[in-house]
Symmetry: C2
Subunit: 342 residues, 2 copies
C-alpha cells in the first residue's frame, strides 16, 4: 500500500506580514513539506486545484514542477485536476513536462472538482457537468495513448492528425479518476479500467463499500484485469505522537475551516462530538497516533476490499509548519513500517 499526502496549498491569513509575502511563505513551506515527505519515504504527494482566495493551487502543476526539482523519489500527482473546465491538450502538456522534470514520477487524478468556481471562470455551464467530464477525459486518454491525434467533440476545437508534445518519460502516464459519492462515477472508472481515487472526508469509510463494489463489477464486466482496478483513498488525516495530542491539535483549525465551507453548502457547524465520532475506529478522519492510524487504515482497507493508496490531507487546519513536518516524519518512520509489516 502506498502512503502519501494531498495539499490544497491553503493561503495564509493569520499573521502580520503583507499578503504577498504571506502567500510566498505558504508556498515555500509547502515545498519544504514535499521535500521532507520525499526524504521520509512517503510514496506520493498531491496538489489540489481551486480557483478561490483561500487556496493557492489554481495552477497545481506549477507547484508540482517546483517540487519535482527538489525531490528524488516521491511520485507527484494532482488531487484533483478539474479536467471538466480545462483543455486536455494543455493538461497533458503540463503533466508530460512534469514527467520529464521528475524523470517519470508524474500522475494525474482527473475529477470534476468539489467546488464549482472553475465552470463560470472558464466559460462552461454547470448543466454540462457530466458531459464535460466525459468528453474531456476521453480526449485526455486519447492524447495519453497517441502521439498523433484526430478527435472531435462538443466542448473543444477538433484535432486533425495533430501531434501533442512533449511526450512523457513513462510509457503510459497514470490517470486516476477522482470521485466523491456519485455512483455513476464509480461505474465510469470501472468501465474505463482506470484506477480510482475516492475522497472520503467525513462519515464512516466502510459505507463506501457498495460504491467500490460497483466500480469493481463494472471493471470486471468491461473485461479489465482485477490488478488494473486499484482503489485509493483521500482522507483528512494527521498523525501525532499520541492520539490525544493529534486530535486536540487538529480540532480548532478543522472546526473553523469546515464550519466555513459548511456555511456555503448548507451544512450545520462542526461540533466536537461529531469530530470525536469521526476520529473513532470506523470514522473517516485519519487522526491519531501512528499505531492507531495504521490500524485504522488497515481496517478501512479490509472494509473496502483492499486499498492500494491512502493520502492524508493535513494542512487545511492551519497547524504550524513544525507540527506538519513532525506528522510527516511520524508517517514515514512509524506509520509506513507498521502498514508494510502487516
Amino acid at each position: 500500500m502506498e502512503i502519501g499526502i494531498d495539499s490544497f496549498a491553503a493561503a495564509m491569513f493569520n499573521d502580520t506580514e503583507d499578503k504577498a509575502t504571506r502567500n510566498a511563505n505558504a508556498i515555500a513551506q509547502l515545498l519544504e513539506r514535499i521535500e521532507y515527505a520525499d526524504q521520509a519515504g512517503l510514496d506520493v504527494f498531491g496538489i489540489g486545484e481551486h480557483h478561490r482566495k483561500e487556496f493557492l493551487d489554481s495552477a497545481p502543476t506549477m507547484i508540482l514542477a517546483a517540487a519535482a526539482a527538489r525531490t528524488k523519489r516521491i511520485r507527484l500527482t494532482s488531487a484533483v485536476t478539474v479536467i471538466s473546465a480545462a483543455d486536455p491538450v494543455r493538461v497533458f502538456q503540463n503533466f508530460a513536462t512534469l514527467d520529464l522534470i521528475s524523470n517519470g514520477r508524474a500522475e494525474i487524478v482527473a475529477g470534476r472538482g468539489s467546488f464549482i468556481e472553475a465552470y463560470p471562470l472558464f466559460g462552461y455551464k454547470l448543466e454540462d457537468y457530466d458531459a464535460l467530464f466525459a468528453e474531456k477525459l476521453n480526449l485526455l486518454l486519447t492524447i495519453r495513448d497517441n502521439e498523433v491525434v484526430t478527435w472531435s467533440g462538443r466542448f473543444r476545437a477538433p484535432l486533425r492528425n495533430q501531434a501533442i508534445y512533449p511526450r512523457p518519460v513513462q510509457p503510459s502516464m497514470p490517470v486516476w479518476l477522482g470521485v466523491g459519492g456519485t455512483p455513476q462515477s464509480f461505474v465510469r472508472a470501472g468501465t474505463l479500467g482506470l484506477p480510482l481515487m475516492v475522497a472520503i472526508i467525513g462519515g464512516e469509510t466502510h459505507r463506501f463499500r457498495p460504491l467500490i463494489d460497483l466500480y469493481r463489477e463494472a471493471g470486471a464486466k468491461a473485461g479489465h484485469a482485477p490488478d488494473r482496478l486499484k482503489v485509493g483513498l483521500h482522507s483528512i488525516g494527521y498523525v501525532g505522537n499520541t492520539t490525544r495530542e493529534a486530535t486536540n491539535d487538529f480540532y480548532p483549525g478543522y472546526a473553523e475551516v469546515f464550519t466555513k465551507i459548511g456555511r456555503e453548502r448548507g451544512w450545520p457547524p462542526v461540533t466536537r462530538t461529531q469530530y470525536d465520532a469521526q476520529t473513532g475506529p470506523t470514522g473517516a478522519l485519519l487522526i491519531g497516533s501512528p499505531q492507531e492510524v495504521a490500524e485504522k487504515i488497515l481496517r478501512h482497507s479490509e472494509a473496502l476490499g483492499g486499498v492500494s493508496r491512502v493520502t492524508f490531507q493535513m494542512d487545511q487546519a492551519a497547524l504550524p509548519q513544525e507540527k506538519l513536518l513532525k506528522s510527516i516524519e511520524l508517517i514515514g518512520n512509524q506509520l509506513i513500517p507498521l502498514i508494510r509489516q502487516h
Copy 2:
C-alpha cells in the same frame, strides 16, 4: 543593462538513449544551466513556447517553476508566451504561481510566436492573428491590474465580476511585448507603454532603429514616461574564450538548425560567408570572445538608442553541456563586468 539567456528547450536527437530518457536529460541539463546562470550572476533566464517535436517547451511555465525552486536571484521569464492561442486567465495563474514560488522573480514576454502550430492546435484561425493578440493581451493586462475582473471579447468566455487567484508577490507583474519585425507591433507596445523585447536573429541589428523609434514615438504620444519605454534584445549568441573558438564551435549546429527551419520557410541554406558577416561588427549574431561580444552589445545599444536587456539564445546549436556552461561562466564573470564598467 541586464544580461540573460533564452532557451527553447531543444529536444535531443543525437545520442543512443531511448527518446524519453534523452528528453528527461535535456530538461535536467537545461535546469543545470539555469542554476549555473543564477550562480554566475546573470540577470534573467527565459523559456520559449513551441508545440513541435524539436522543442520541449510547450509548457514553458513548468520549466520556469522547476528553475524557480533551484535558483535565488535570477529573474524568470517566458520568451515568448504565445498569448494569442492561450487563455490569459490560465497564463496569469501560471505566472502568479511562478511569482509566489520564486518570491517575485516572474516576468511575461507576450508575443504571437514565430511558428504557427499553436493556432490550429488550440482551435484558432490564422486570419485572426492580430485580433487574437490584441484581445488576449488586453485581458492579460486587465487581470494583472485587477483582482476582480469584468470583461468580454470575441475569443474567450466573458468574465463577470470574477476574481483570479493567486495574486503575485510583485505589485505589478512585468509584461513585455515580444516582437519580430512588424511595425504595428512596435507602435502597439509604445501606445500601451509596455517594455519591448525585440527578437533580432539575423541581418544587422542597427537596421531596427526606425522600428524602435516608432515604439518610442508612439509611447511619447500616448503620454508614457521615457523610463517606462524599455527596449530589450533577444539574439542568437554564444561566448567562448576567443572569437575564433566561439564562431567555429557554434557554426555547425547553427547551420544545421537554420537550414532546416529555412526549408520550411523558403529561405536559402545557411552559408559560412553569410554566418561570418553576421558575426561581424554590425551583424546580429552575438558570437565571440567576452571582450568582442561586450563591445558589440554596447555598439548595438548605442545604435538603437539604448537597450535595457540583452538575452542570448545559445542552445539551439546542439553544443555539448560543458561548452554551454563555460559560455555562461564567461558571460557572468567577464562579459557582464565589461558591460557594467562601461
